[in-house]
């Protein structure tokens, strides 16, 4: 009998039925499991407002009369207490890295340090306009320049384009540099070679930039087939796009040979830097002959993913490609002044080969401040440790699970920062999806599933360096249990998740008759 429970009451053993079925509630909520209506169901347009505003001091200009809105926009307003509650309740329907491991392979869900959030909100960064006179924003330009220096030095490259707004935008930037460099040589090369294990963004970007995309096969051990690639090189090939470490979690051992062959054939090497987290501080891509590589600041350098962005995708460039980068860019003169170069014919640092602007303004400043704070925190020594711990954690997962989950490339040596498993060995009718949904019930976010495409039923696990050993052991125990259940054909796994805010959702219905906006006539299901 404990002092806190003098009655000696003990809970009765479960009956096996769900609590919700045993004790239905009038509200439909279940203690901390709270449902939340849409804002359109909470208030009618025009009812109320959560912002106090004075009345305007004058009516609209007479000349504006013919442009005025016929009726106010039909948008409901909520007062502050209602709005805070709405969004707080919604937030609780989300899993997040703050709640537990989020081992999405290739996505690099690592801890987001709160110092970064704090510095990004300093008024000197958060409350400056992109078009202020340069003399008034030397600190902001200094951040861009300082981060650029780190990125160039860490990668062993020559220059960096800071403006791309996400990884895929960075890919586009790199390919446009390649296209501009080839055009400057007076050549016309229209083919980009992409390994079949590549991220979907690679071929999409190449096609968007006007290239023809050709696929390069992988070897049995999950790497680019050097012989096949070399055989395809020729005067029509503008370059290759290679992910290194690749999406099977393996380092491309032949990277330098690939680069040399592509260069000898007059092409350029684009590296998808989504997996830079595995080698930062240990390997400089510039030493491998890379000409362009984007760096996802929201992956390697810990800026928050925010439920799907914003990202930031600076592109480091070789000496050969640097003259062809986009505008604007920053450059520092000997007097310590940082210049923002917005014009190919600028007085200082003219760059006649620059291919132009990719977006308004100068890049994702709010991500730059966060990434710089992260980089300075780790330093050159700490970043090296980041890569080592990320690789150690992934190999630990790989070796602790390969007896119950098929690891298709486990025999070919250690993995880098992510461990790849397949669905081989699961009972008939059981799939990767069932394991993923089972992980949800276990309290974890699933790994990346069905990618890369070169492995059947891929499960790509990227623990990152910010998981503790105890946390990894808990995750491994859960995944082991699920693998055993799927091998044994445990039917309850087929209907997982059972404990999430929603059970499996009907994606076919969503796509067949898309309902993308709320309408009064659409009754809630």
């Amino acid at each position: 009998m404990s002092a806190l429970n003098p009655s000696g009451w003990r809970p009765e053993a479960g009956t096996g039925e769900s609590a919700a079925a045993l004790a239905p509630t009038a509200s439909g909520d279940h203690a901390l499991a709270l449902e939340e209506p849409l804002i359109f169901e909470l208030a009618a347009p025009g009812d109320k407002c959560g912002v106090d505003l004075d009345a305007p001091e004058s009516p609209p200009l007479p000349g504006l009369a013919r442009f005025l809105r016929a009726a106010i926009a039909p948008l409901p307003g909520l007062t502050e207490p209602e709005a805070v509650r709405h969004y707080t309740r919604l937030s609780r329907q989300n899993y997040a890295i703050d709640l537990g491991p989020f081992p999405l392979g290739s996505c690099t869900m690592k801890h987001n340090p709160r110092l970064n959030e704090k510095v990004a909100r300093l008024a000197g960064f958060a409350d400056v306009h992109p078009l202020q006179p340069q003399q008034t924003v030397q600190g902001a330009l200094g951040v861009i320049n300082e981060l650029a220096f780190w990125l160039v030095t860490l990668t062993g490259m020559h220059g960096v384009a800071m403006t791309p707004k996400a990884g895929a935008h960075g890919e586009l930037c790199g390919l446009l540099c390649i296209k501009a460099a080839i055009a400057a040589r007076g050549e016309d090369r229209r083919v980009i070679l992409v390994p079949e294990s590549a991220h979907g963004t690679n071929p999409a970007t190449a096609a968007f930039a006007g290239f023809a995309v050709e696929s390069i096969p992988a070897t049995a051990e999950g790497r680019v087939d050097l012989a096949a690639l070399t055989a395809r090189l020729g005067p029509d090939v503008a370059g290759v796009m290679i992910t290194n470490p690749n999406t099977c979690g393996l380092f491309e051992r032949d990277m330098k040979a690939i680069s040399d062959a592509v260069h000898a054939a007059g092409g350029y090497v684009y590296c998808d830097g989504a997996n830079f987290n595995a080698i930062v501080g240990k390997v400089r891509p510039g030493d491998l002959g890379i000409d362009a590589m984007h760096i996802n600041l929201h992956k390697t350098f810990s800026t928050p993913h925010g439920g799907g962005g914003p990202g930031s995708g600076p592109v480091v460039l070789s000496q050969a490609l640097s003259p062809f980068g986009p505008l604007p860019f920053t450059a520092r003169t000997a007097d310590g002044v940082v210049h923002l170069i917005e014009d190919t014919n600028a007085d200082v640092f003219p760059q006649p080969g620059a291919f132009g602007r990719m977006a308004a303004f100068h890049g994702q400043m709010g991500m730059f401040t966060r990434a710089l704070a992260y980089i300075l925190s780790h330093g050159a020594d700490g970043l090296r440790q980041v890569a080592e711990d990320a690789v150690l954690n992934a190999n630990y997962v790989l070796r602790r699970l390969e007896d119950v989950l098929d690891a298709p490339f486990g025999h070919s040596g250690p993995c880098m920062h992510e461990a790849l498993f397949s669905d081989a060995g699961l009972a008939d009718g059981f799939s990767t999806l069932d394991i993923a949904k089972g992980l949800i019930d276990e309290g974890f976010h699933p790994m990346t599933v069905y990618f890369p495409l070169v492995v059947h039923g891929s499960m790509l696990v990227e623990p990152t360096e910010t998981e503790s050993r105890a946390g990894l052991d808990r995750f491994i125990a859960s995944l082991r249990s699920l693998a055993e259940r799927a091998r044994a054909g445990d039917a309850s796994l087929k209907s997982a998740p059972h404990f999430a805010p929603r059970r499996r959702l009907d994606e076919t219905q969503a796509a067949r008759k898309p309902v993308l906006v709320w309408r009064e006539t659409v009754a809630p299901a």
């Binding site: 849409l38 407002c49 505003l53 200009l61 997040a96 890295i97 929603r502 796509a511």
Partner: protein, 456 residues
């Protein structure tokens, strides 16, 4: 290191469990000549939270913040008051540190927000549907042009001279590589926008006409007129809104016949942040849904029949379609979309209308006062919260001289259009609910001093 939970003992034991002697054994696939023997040369070592904070604060202190000066900059980024609850809510870890909602059962928070966001944006822009956001307004503008080309199977876009020059440059950069034809024109310093020129340029080859509303000089084009002209030639009207607060007062582009409406959403919920991250708004007619770029969130039901939301129509997207995708976009601007949506929820339609009225009234007060400065003329007959002043001399020099006096007085057209003759006397002045009478007076006085050549 404060962000790395493994202890030295953990590392040793884990290596042993793996069967590796050293950490370098795990990097065996990296050729020896590419492996660095130690930390990258030329970079400092790790630093404490306190030290990093001091360093960043010192950099921040070297900027003149908008809140510390009379402030009149706009041109695609606007300084509005953001309710305190917006930033508080977007910092909830469940929103801040979640990924793209690939596992909808445990991402209903993000997904419902996106569904609400899409509905808010569609209703604001006056379109049938909207997507879950783009990188920013300028990239959304290019994506709209690419989408119009897919729909019409034509390759020419006509750009109004009133389109923000950064948007125009972004479009031209992309078109240079894709082979689309761009028929652009510089702005003219006229009181009226170039509607007639734009209409005259539309022909049977035109995929779309791109018109900013209000335009970069603050003028308001007649979208209905241009839409009718475009339609007569089988072309689409793409309307671009860089200041969404304006749509609290002036008619939504979708209601005026625009087929695709894109915009920059930064004004609501997202601060200036020196240019990014911002968020692109993208709405269009429902019949174009399968040609849309970017993420879409749709309503569906779960296995128990309960309403839920999922990412949908991903067969348009790069991870399924690869080189046949409608766009290469993977990331959207989720957290900025959340901030926009919360701010919009706090305002509602009525609050947005009031906010727009106040902006417009404040701008009138500024235009009246600045028009009284000797040598200064207001170009616009009509404007929302931003207008163009014509100075007697180079506005770029005037802006620098104003900054020397601690006044952030606007954006010169010389800055926006380097190398473009005939525009250098133009100064864009933006005014919001944040702009006080004292700031307007400070700008008027400083401008007078600058124009009279008084030393700072």
């Amino acid at each position: 290191m404060r962000y790395l939970p493994l202890t030295p003992a953990d590392r040793t034991e884990m290596l042993s469990a793996i069967g590796a002697d050293t950490i370098d054994a795990l990097f065996a696939d990296v050729p020896a000549e590419a492996r660095l023997p130690g930390p990258v040369a030329g970079l400092p070592a790790h630093a404490s939270e306190m030290a990093v904070e001091r360093h960043m604060a010192a950099l921040a202190a070297r900027n003149l913040t908008a809140g510390a000066a009379p402030f009149f900059l706009g041109a695609g980024a606007y300084r509005h008051h953001i309710p305190a609850s917006v930033d508080h809510l977007i910092q909830r870890g469940e929103f801040l540190t979640a990924y793209t909602p690939y596992q909808p059962e445990i991402a209903q928070g993000t997904l419902q927000v996106l569904f609400e966001f899409q509905t808010q944006v569609a209703r604001l822009l006056g379109t049938d549907i909207a997507n879950a956001s783009m990188y920013d307004g300028s990239t959304a503008c290019w994506e709209a042009i690419a989408m119009a080309a897919r729909i019409t199977r034509r390759k020419k876009a006509v750009l109004s001279g009133g389109l923000h020059p950064h948007y125009g440059e972004t479009v031209k950069t992309m078109a240079r590589f894709t082979g689309d034809a761009i028929d652009a024109r510089p702005p003219r310093l006229d009181a009226a926008p170039d509607d007639a020129d734009v209409i005259a340029a539309i022909d049977g080859e035109t995929a779309c006409v791109v018109v900013q509303y209000p335009d970069v000089l603050g003028r308001i084009p007649d979208l209905a007129l241009i839409a009718a002209a475009a339609q007569a030639h089988g072309a689409l009207l793409v309307a671009v809104v860089t200041e969404p607060v304006a749509l609290g007062l002036i008619e939504a582009p979708g209601h005026l016949g625009a087929d695709i409406v894109v915009g920059e959403g930064q004004s609501l919920g997202v601060g200036l942040q020196f240019g990014g991250p911002y968020l692109g708004l993208f709405g269009c007619r429902e019949k174009f849904v399968r040609q849309m770029p970017g993420r879409l969130c749709g309503q569906t039901v779960d296995a128990d029949g309960r309403r839920g939301f999922v990412l949908t129509l991903s067969t348009r997207e790069q991870h399924i379609r690869r080189e046949k995708a409608t766009s290469n976009i993977c990331t959207n601007s989720g957290l900025c979309a959340l901030a926009f949506s919360i701010h919009m929820t706090l305002l509602g339609g009525a609050g947005l209308a009031r906010l727009a009225q106040v902006n417009h009234a404040r701008a009138q007060a500024a235009a009246r006062r600045l028009g009284q400065v000797p040598g200064v003329a207001v170009l616009n007959d009509v404007y929302f919260n931003e207008f163009t002043l014509i100075l007697p001399g180079d506005a770029r020099a005037a802006v620098r001289a104003l900054a020397d006096r601690g006044v952030l007085g606007g954006v010169s057209l010389g800055r926006l259009y380097p190398g473009e003759g005939g525009l250098d006397r133009g100064l864009l002045v933006a005014v919001t609910e944040m702009t006080g009478d004292d700031e307007i007076e400070a700008l008027a006085t400083a401008l007078d001093d600058v124009l009279q050549g008084e030393p700072a």
